[in-house]
Amino acid sequence: MKQLFNFIKKEFHHIFRDYRSMLVLLGLPIVQLLIFGFAITNETKNTNIAILDNAKDETTQQIISKFENSDYFDIEITLKSNDEIEKEFKSGKIKLAVVFQEDFQNELFHSNKAQIQLIADATDPNQATTLVNYASAIIQDYQTDLNSENKLPYQIKTELRMLYNPELKGAYTSVPGVMGMILLLISTMMTSISIVREKELGTMEILLVSPMKPYLVILSKVIPYFVISLINVTTILLLSVHILGMPIQGSTILLIAITIIYIFCALSLGILISTITDSQLAAMLISLLGLMLPVVMLSGYVFPVANMPIILQVISNIVPAKWYIIMVKSVMIKGLGISGIWKEAIILLGMTIFFIIISIKRFKIRLA
């Protein structure tokens, strides 16, 4: 026990005496969360648009003022002719142009066929789609107002309710994603690097020759990163609740419990990586390319898993972060209890046990 304590102390010495990695370990999560929470977001607010009103009648004025009053759009410029549209898009000042046909009001009331053209900058397709949807909704809204006076004989009304994230906040996707990413980065990469470093320096050999039990060596490597991971989880949760305004709907204890399972999984993966390679650089590359990319690409953090080709959907099942992110979303956003996430929890536990068994096997092969 005393040996283990001494070794954990030694491990913290390694971490604290390397200021750069220290900064990365504790600073990175905060920076990541704030960047993903604030800067990178799918919410569109105050987008600059251009209006080309070829009709200039009462109706078009009313629609334009609806655009003006919405939070989503700012009218940057009012155009005079079709030729100007492309110039404005090229300059990058506007993301959407709204073009009213000539004689709009007349067409609307007499031939029932008034047309508005929406032109969006599709260099960012997601954003373009969102903007067009918002704009259509505004126009739809105006139409509903019009028809409220003279009732239509048949009418279907759609009523939208965005459950769990009514304000469509970006933080709701970025917080679980950042947690999945950061914990993997710190627990897996740092653990594998710190074990492999001992191999590179030859101290691992000295330890294996000594009476120190190998599992104690590994345990002493893992505990400090476990502690740091817990600190990071606490920071991330505090930031997301108090700064990003994302409440924890479910039980905080459950959230911490599933996070601990995930940390165990990430740590055991780190140990596994350290049995594969003898070089710190390789350990880092495996952790970064082999783990970070799948987490970002396949976990459902950035791209929805359901939209992927079947093969990638299948592969995504072996990414631990996928299951963790599902659980975090379930508990944090939907407020589900253990009955809603036990399957994912078992999968993650199974993966952890699998990684540990493989690591022990590989460790024994090395010794033989």
Binding site: Q3, N6, K10, G202, T203, I206, V209, S210, M212, L367
Partner: protein
Amino acid sequence: MQKEIVIKTDKLTKRFSDFVAVNEITFEVYQGEIFGFLGANGAGKTTAMKMLIGISKPTSGKAAIAGYDIYKNTEEIKKSIGYMSQKFSLYEDLTVKENITLFGGIYGLNDSEIKTKSEALIKKLGLQNEADKLVASLPLGWKQKLAFSIAIFHSPKIVFLDEPTGGVDPITRRQFWDMIYEAAHNGITVFVTTHYMDEAEYCDRVSIMVDGVIEALDSPSQLKQNYNAQSMDEVFLMLARGAKRGD
């Protein structure tokens, strides 16, 4: 010389699939002896030593270290030996004192023992001013001496040195051998692998491995006589010339 046997092997063999790295080596090492374990690169000396210190399992054969069987009593063996690798492995981002304390603790020394012994050691090595400095800041020769001192800090019966003088200058090497003599004088058996044939001359007995087998084993003077050679270098070349395995 006392004749207590501290290392005894009987047809110790290590096979990697088709390749026989160590082929039925049988030898004995006596207590307090400086035993040189020589061989060209690829001759199998590192593999043989790894089996003796318990980080590689033999394919067949028997061996006893400090009276303990290498298959059954690995834990006892680990407590009775010290080991220094060719990298002089210490923790560079720990101080001299912290390194001594850490390794002392691993070998089960209690706090007061560590305290008195480490103070004496630091004084002996003349590292009083460096005791609280990081090992990374020490010159290579000092790291080497510190690594050796730490390897014998727990007063093991046998210390295994794997090419302990690589990369240091001749004067430092000479000083290092003085430390080896001192350890042997205090009853610690020294098992040392080396490339330097002048160092082989300092050993009480040397074994020379060629292609996985021990070709010769005797005192340096006897070997020179047997092979009618002026120096150990000549003896070694005569034996190693027959080698079929290279690096």
